[in-house]
């Protein structure tokens, strides 16, 4: 594990899955700051359909962990009112693919109120949403639409790939004075456990993390795609190709420096994401490299992404999602250009 420059108040750790780390982060902040409220569909008694809010209503009461009507615009819209009036709502959208009814509220209010009022009103809100394909969920439960929010000035977008980061970034998001969309990959919710410190600590929003050092190619991924990139990097190593592997962690604002530094070293880059290619963040990353590292590039940058098709029914989702093989192919392409 990488050493984080984070303020950890406790040295005691627990072995947690990503989703448990989310619960732990919520609990920590509900304890720490009474302005924090948790709202959403089924987050109370049921503890959330993924159990991310398990036990929280029991511990903090129905006033702080609130089951809402089935209405995403209502949840977000009401939370705007709570946020401008002193609370810090952490709302759960049950699946990112069901965030669209709230899109207007997020686009025209959550993200704009600070600017419209020159800071007189602010919306310190976190919107949590499980996202992505790969768990054989019913249709429309598997969207990965971060780009709809990174193109929306006024909101930050975060996407952890590990339990440690999940808790630290979630706490940072709740403490952030501005709205944050917090994306949680369902595919890795319970994929593994790692040591997560008890109590409060933060991971800085806006900073990526180098997971592995190499010389030949820079791999950039986030969320569930990080492990895909790591597996491809292993395959590449067998061919004598070594990779820098970067977990972006924050999708807006993107950590330009970590990308630049790496690409100026390797001269090659492969970006992996599960969202569609057209309009996906891969393009933004290519632009960053174009801007910062043009003369360093040895070959065109490759994107390995979900296709330009709706996320399919689950019988075809493995074909839709990037695989280590597809990433490996791209690595070969940039190396042998």
């Amino acid at each position: 594990m990488m050493i984080e420059k984070a303020i950890v108040n406790s040295t005691k750790t627990n072995q947690l899955t990503l989703v448990q780390a989310v619960t732990d982060g919520l609990r920590t902040m509900l304890e720490e700051d009474e302005r924090v409220l948790v709202l959403g569909e089924d987050v109370g008694k049921n503890g959330g359909v993924f159990r991310a809010t398990e036990g929280l209503q029991k511990q903090f009461g129905e006033d702080r962990v609130i089951d809402t009507p089935l209405s995403e615009a209502g949840i977000v819209g009401t939370s705007i009112g709570l946020a401008v009036n002193g609370f810090k709502p952490v709302v759960e959208i049950q699946f990112l693919g069901f965030i669209y009814p709230a899109y207007e509220q997020i686009m025209t209010h959550v993200s704009r109120i600070r600017m419209r009022t020159m800071g007189s009103f602010t919306v310190p809100m976190v919107i949590r949403a499980p996202y992505g394909a790969g768990i054989r969920a019913p249709e429309i439960h598997s969207d990965s639409v971060e780009a709809l929010f990174t193109h929306m000035p006024g909101i930050k977008v975060v996407c952890p790939s590990s339990a440690y980061d999940a808790k630290g970034l979630l706490i940072a998001a709740i403490e952030d004075p501005d709205p944050v969309l917090f994306m949680e990959s369902m595919r890795i919710y319970r994929a593994s456990r790692e040591a997560v410190p008890e109590g409060k600590y933060t991971v800085e929003i806006g900073k990526g993390k180098k997971l592995q050092d190499g010389n030949d190619v820079t791999l950039i991924a986030w969320g569930a795609m990080v492990s895909v990139a790591l597996r491809a990097a292993e395959q590449a190593k067998k061919q004598g190709i070594t990779c820098d592997v970067i977990d972006l962690r924050t999708l807006y604002p993107i950590d330009k420096d970590i990308i630049t530094e790496s690409v100026q070293k390797t001269g090659r880059a492969v970006i992996v994401h599960e969202a569609h290619q057209t309009g996906g963040l891969g393009n933004d990353i290519i632009s960053i490299i174009n801007d910062t590292s043009f003369l360093y590039l040895k070959s065109p940058i490759e994107r390995v992404t979900g296709f330009d098709v709706p996320v399919p029914f689950f019988s075809l989702e493995e074909q839709y999602l990037p695989t280590p093989e597809r990433v490996m192919k791209a690595i070969e392409k940039v190396v042998h250009f």
């Binding site: 330009d308 098709v309 075809l316």
Partner: protein, 356 residues
């Protein structure tokens, strides 16, 4: 307009006819049809759950307990009407003529599961809650504009009434007098959220008042009430009256889906009580018995037939051609854009197949 919405019944829990107006309309044939379709979809439902448990089906949304609502409403339709189901209304879809193996395919994550039988106007299940409500208004309006007498039925749950699309759809339907029956199955839970937390109103039927639309509240476990009320609403729609909102009060016995654990949020013994006292099939059985039309041989016969039909559908589903990767790319547009063609070509090359 009226303000009170008592729950309408035609046949009570004990199988007794409580509204004499319908005595003549209730033929033996009709009652047997009710029973046949309810046992048919219940058999399907139980099979689906067991397939899911065996890993032969994906996450599945069961409807046991809601058979009267789904069968009664679907049987009231004419063959050229439109049906807009949710993820829980495959009972209604099956009754209206959806292919059984297709429903299995749907729950196995197969695109083919949304392809309706030829000529059947069954829309793919609405997964994003309430979004089908304006669709039904539009499809029905199209029928009206074409000068047909066809109508549409849109299914939705109690939770769905909280979404903006419910309101916008009903408003459009009422303004344009679209021939739609808005058929709400109030099973009193939206996953874990009980109706008291979903809304402050005592009934869903009263929401019709906001649109000057006729609203009715019926016993959704009384298939007679469901059938005749929907029939009447359809007639009203076909003759230019516009839309109706019907609230059918019912209950799902089991989990929200096979991924859900209802004991987290409610006492499941309540389901058992309802099953014993208000089960929709039991009620028809009681009615049939007290009217002397219950025949064990007939029941045995249809039970066997249905079992065979369901087994056959499972077989069809399991023998269905494997998912075709071309289908990932070929249905986004009539003609694929270059991005899709290029991505398809590259992908097929990678996995060692020719683009067709």
């Amino acid at each position: 307009m009226k303000l009170e919405f008592p729950i309408l019944q035609i046949v009570d829990e004990n199988g007794n006819l409580v509204n004499e107006n319908y005595r003549k309309a209730i033929t033996e044939e009709l009652v047997k049809k009710f029973y046949y379709h309810m046992i048919r979809i219940r058999t399907f439902d139980r099979k689906a759950i067991s397939l899911q448990r065996q890993g032969r089906l994906g996450t599945y949304a069961p409807f046991e307990g809601q058979e009267a609502s789904q069968v009664g409403s679907a049987l009231a339709l004419e063959k050229d009407d439109w049906l807009f189901p949710t993820y829980r209304d495959h009972g209604a879809a099956l009754t209206f003529g959806a292919g059984m193996s297709r429903i299995f395919l749907y729950w196995n994550g197969r695109l083919e599961g949304c392809v309706p039988e030829k000529g059947k106007k069954i829309f793919p299940p609405a997964v994003p809650i309430a979004t089908q409500i304006p669709h039904a208004a539009g499809a029905a309006l199209a029928e009206k504009r074409k000068g047909t007498k066809n109508a549409a039925i849109a299914y939705f749950g109690d939770g769905a009434t909280s979404e903006g699309d419910f309101h916008e759809g009903l408003n459009f339907a009422s303004v344009f007098k679209a021939p739609v029956v808005y058929f709400n199955q109030n099973n009193r839970f939206a996953i874990s959220v009980p109706i008291e937390k979903q809304m402050n109103s005592e009934t869903i039927a009263q929401k019709a008042l906001a649109y000057n639309m006729p609203g009715f509240r019926i016993d959704g476990n009384d298939i007679f009430a469901v059938y005749f009320q929907v029939l009447e609403a359809l007639k009203f729609a076909r003759h230019g009256g516009g839309s109706t909102l019907i609230e059918a009060v019912t209950w799902r016995y089991g989990a929200h889906t096979t991924s859900d654990d209802p004991t987290k949020y409610r006492d499941q013994s309540e389901s058992e009580v309802i099953r014993e006292t208000r089960d929709p099939l039991l009620r028809v059985e009681r009615y049939m018995k007290s009217n002397g039309i219950w025949k064990e041989e007939w029941v045995q016969k249809i039970t066997n037939e249905i079992a065979a039909e369901v087994e056959q559908a499972v077989k069809e589903m399991e023998n269905y051609p494997k998912p075709n990767v071309n289908d990932l790319f070929d249905h986004v547009f009539e003609k694929p854009t270059w991005t899709i063609s290029q991505q398809k070509e590259q992908y097929l090359q990678l996995i060692g197949r020719e683009a067709r």
